[in-house]
């Protein structure tokens, strides 16, 4: 239950930041908070208190946590990093043209 709560709070915090902050960089940060909330939640839910899914050389543990969500999260993180990099690039570029990263001052974002 706790991880659901944390997920909800983080996710909505991120969503709020994306929607109601005017600074584009902060909006990207909000996006990242959302992503991280999801990743955290996936890992937390899949953690059933068992061992890390790696066979040690000598002792073969009896039970592992589910490795699949971890693999999926890894993929998700990398994709998230790529999109963040791309977004930041656009913001750098936009700053060059408009001299601002305030979404309020960028009329073009509204249309």
């Amino acid at each position: 239950m706790l991880h659901h709560l944390v997920f909800t709070v983080l996710f909505l915090l991120g969503l709020y930041t994306v929607i109601y902050k005017n600074n584009l960089i902060k909006m990207v940060i909000g996006l990242n908070i959302m992503e991280i909330a999801v990743f955290f939640w996936v890992i937390a839910v899949s953690d059933t208190g068992k061992s890390v899914p790696i066979y040690h050389l000598n002792k073969f543990a009896a039970s592992f946590n589910d490795p699949v969500p971890q693999a999926l999260t890894l993929t998700g993180i990398i994709i998230g990093a790529s999109t963040t990099a791309l977004l930041l690039t656009f913001i750098i570029e936009l700053n060059k043209f408009a001299d601002t990263i305030d979404s309020n001052k960028l009329e073009g974002l509204n249309e």
Partner: protein, 235 residues
């Protein structure tokens, strides 16, 4: 008024999300689920101790191909958007002591990254993680020695070659799978030693190496694109 409404919306949304997600069942519906299969047969079938790596590069290798393609695409996009050719000479770098220290430290960082890359199938880590460390070398170089130094030493062409080369290695290894075993991205039979040794797990370490260099070069390119300065616009 608007703030109040927004607050109400978000509190309501939080409540709804919590209710909806709290119903997540503890147990999965399928008795013999994906994870049971991977845990049960993972070591036997792939030879990788690290099950996450086994999933990433063997069972779901195609995902990783897509994933590295995402990085490749992001790098291409960033280069496309920020291609300005001129690099600012940020400074002459930091002081001599820092430079010297880093000079001594660099091989170790590189070694560590190589370790992470090559031991992906044995310990936590792998191509992506090691690649990031590799990229870190390049980034620290530009901070400590000034950006021009690294730029001269490892030209963008070299980085591009590494990046695309890494991606191609992935596909070539996948293609070899067709030749040897009949399926794309099939785990190659050679290089399989007993599980737990460095040379084991078939093609997983090879893919790891390819991806490691690809990610390292890619992130370095991203970094250098972003610190480039504007000198007018050329098309």
């Amino acid at each position: 008024m608007k703030k109040f409404l927004v607050g109400l919306l978000f509190i309501g949304l939080a409540f709804l999300l919590l209710i909806n997600f709290a119903e997540l069942p503890e147990e999965k519906l399928i008795t013999f689920s994906l994870s049971d299969y991977y845990i049960g047969f993972g070591l036997e079938q792939t030879g990788a101790l690290n099950l996450v790596t086994a999933i990433l590069y063997d069972y779901r290798g195609f995902d990783s191909l897509g994933e590295s393609t995402v990085i490749f695409a992001a790098v291409s996009g960033i280069v496309l958007i920020l291609s300005r050719k001129m690099l600012p000479v940020s400074s002459h770098g930091l002081s001599f002591i820092v430079k010297r220290t880093l000079g001594i430290l660099t091989p170790f960082i590189a070694l560590f990254s190589l370790y992470v890359i090559t031991h992906g199938h044995l310990t936590p880590g792998g191509g992506f993680q090691g690649g990031v460390i590799l990229a870190a070398i390049s980034i620290i170089f530009s901070i400590v020695y000034g950006s021009a130094f690294d730029y001269k030493r490892y030209s963008p062409e070299l980085k591009t070659t590494f990046e695309t080369g890494g991606a191609l290695v992935f596909i070539i290894i996948g293609g070899l799978g067709i030749l040897f075993d009949g399926f794309f991205l099939d785990n190659l039979d050679f290089l399989t030693h007993s599980p737990g040794t460095l040379i084991s797990a078939g093609s997983i370490p090879l893919i790891n190496i390819g991806i490691g260099f690809k990610v390292g070069a890619g992130l370095a390119i991203v970094f250098y694109s972003m610190i480039q300065k504007t000198f007018g616009e050329e098309f």
